[in-house]
Symmetry: C2
Subunit: 358 residues, 2 copies
């Protein structure tokens, strides 16, 4: 009876993570923001959570292995389950494409989670759209993009919208900004609050089919500039002018946004770099010298937005690069935030960036 | 040298399954339509493939466990990986929502796979759309539907379209007809070939949040009839007449389609039952007697389509039910096909059914 009471008290306030598969009771988020994982693996010798942690699970009499983490900052954490050397997913989690494959993640809700929640406001639409890209490979290929159209897009067929091209990080794909980032709910909420202009968001797959390599970069530049932008302008009711077009990305996607954005000032007047993969910048020489003249770039770029977390492993090269921009007199918005190289940070960056656009 | 040559010869013609995660080399489909699975699990005692099979994998000197199945009929097969009692997914597979969670599947291509392939034809759009359903639970809830709009939908904003409401089976959800079934590519191809009328397809989640139970059924009926159909007619350019509206589903969804369709003759003039979950029918009494008068139902239902595979465990009750319809003089299309209770069959049923609609 006493055991039962203690179990009940411990149970109160625990909640399945909002990132769980439907009806999956674990992982559970506890009131102190620790997470309890539970895995059934009757005959296993060892069960471990990695990426997050690592944490070794302990086997109970009921065949379930469990562990409770230390209290975590509210946010979104990728994790993997390793059972006797087999690295895989937790069936309790939804599937998120990251690390080059479908994997698990746990969302730890906190007081800051409201801005990306699906609320009682008008909702936009998330579309999968196929288009033929002549610049992909030697023969061209059909590609899939994910497109967010804002609330009301289908109702008023005369209204036209600005477009934000928004790229994921290495190992992720065109689904990640919506699935992991909840970019659609972030924009729904910003638009409902009058804090951002209604806009279209386009997510492409920045990872060439054969993986990340330098040789593939010119191809992705062409996919965006020659194929995707014209397709989007033809297919959606866009305002097809550089001032009404932005390009942003996180991590690898930030490096791509900087390079493609600077290569195509005719297409993009705003660039956003979220924890970008930038090497320590040489303002005079890098990007074919396109940053060399501050007056020219300040006239061309309406918004150059750079953010990185103080706990991000990329913090130092990003800060050094932005210091060079500052020294060279290149106008930009600089956000040095809390946090590391995680979606928790990038969702907040989108809020700040989107509110300044258009 | 000879071993190397044999290995090379065995390798020729093997292909990663089209259902794999990007760049995942396994599972592989061999020229004889057998499938080779490979799993890294250094310290495991046993590795098994279930749902498909079961097959026990054998550990090699390199730490990888492998097995090759018997030759399989071309088609789509769910499977799970069980490592030392832990039932989970194969990181080599894409994630498909089935069996109540995200799981693995292998597509074995065959001469019949062309009709659901993404081909060089105009492609429609697959949308995730949120709407508020007053009939969900006691307080109502936001729900997500998946909506296919046909090629050209955005280009000609005066044209209106018929709508097919199309439901998944138990353990699946609103993503399954597109992800597992490739309903979008099937329709793209049918429309391009002039074999089906351009139509909108709507997929809802037929599984109540708490799982399958009889008490939840009236709620889902209300979700479809009171909330979803009005939302779709308001949001999309539909032809909002019963003659231009169909309701179909597979397995559990077939049972739902029959009941909701018969309950709402004002809404639906066509019903499709794909390997439906039907008990042996009593024409006079079931469905509140709505089938009792053949003349009435024949006048009301423009198309009642019933299909089941000869190897389906539901074959006998479905055939017995359709025999009762036949004996009662209720007009219907009856397809007794090859195959079992699998997506391979339901994709083909969609082709036949869609071509007869509207």
């Amino acid at each position: 009876m006493r055991t039962w009471l203690i179990a009940l008290l411990l149970f109160v306030g625990q909640q399945p993570a909002p990132s769980n598969a439907p009806n999956a009771p674990f992982p559970r988020v506890n009131p102190d923001h620790s997470v309890t994982f539970r895995i059934r693996a009757d005959e296993a010798k060892s069960v471990r959570i990695t990426v997050l942690g690592p944490y070794d699970l302990v086997k109970g009499d009921d065949g379930f292995w469990t562990v409770t983490t230390k209290p975590l900052e509210p946010g979104f954490y990728y994790y993997a389950v390793v059972v006797d050397g087999f690295t895989t997913t937790d069936p309790g989690s939804q599937a998120f494409f990251g690390w080059g494959r479908y994997g698990s993640a746990v969302e730890v809700p906190g007081p800051d989670s409201d801005f990306f929640a699906p609320k009682d406001v008008p909702h936009g639409t998330v579309r999968q759209q196929w288009y033929f890209s002549k610049s992909t490979g030697s023969a061209g290929a059909w590609r899939r993009v994910v497109v967010y159209t804002p609330p009301g897009y289908d109702a008023d067929t005369r209204r036209r919208y600005p477009v934000l091209y928004l790229q994921h990080g290495a190992g992720e794909n065109e689904t990640s900004w919506m699935n992991q980032g909840h970019a659609n709910f972030i924009l729904d909420n910003l638009i409902a609050a009058g804090k951002a202009k209604p806009m279209i968001i386009v997510n492409e797959n920045g990872l060439p089919p054969s993986g990340v390599n330098a040789a593939a970069f010119p191809e992705f530049d062409a996919v965006i500039a020659k194929d995707l932008v014209p397709f989007v302008d033809k297919t959606f009711r866009t305002i097809a002018r550089r001032e009404q077009r932005a390009l942003a990305g996180l991590s690898m996607g930030g490096g791509q946004a900087m390079r493609i954005g600077l290569n195509h000032p005719d297409l993009f007047a705003s660039i956003g770099l979220f924890s970008p993969a930038l090497r320590n910048l040489d303002v005079a020489k890098d990007y074919d010298g396109r940053l060399a003249d501050a007056a020219t770039i300040n006239k061309s770029l309406h918004l150059l937005w750079i953010g990185v977390g103080r706990d991000d492993s990329l913090h130092d090269p990003v800060k050094a690069s932005r210091d060079k921009l500052e020294a060279a007199g290149i106008r930009h918005v600089w956000i040095e935030s809390d946090g590391g190289h995680v979606w928790t940070v990038w969702r907040k960056y989108l809020v700040d960036f989107a509110a300044r656009l258009f």
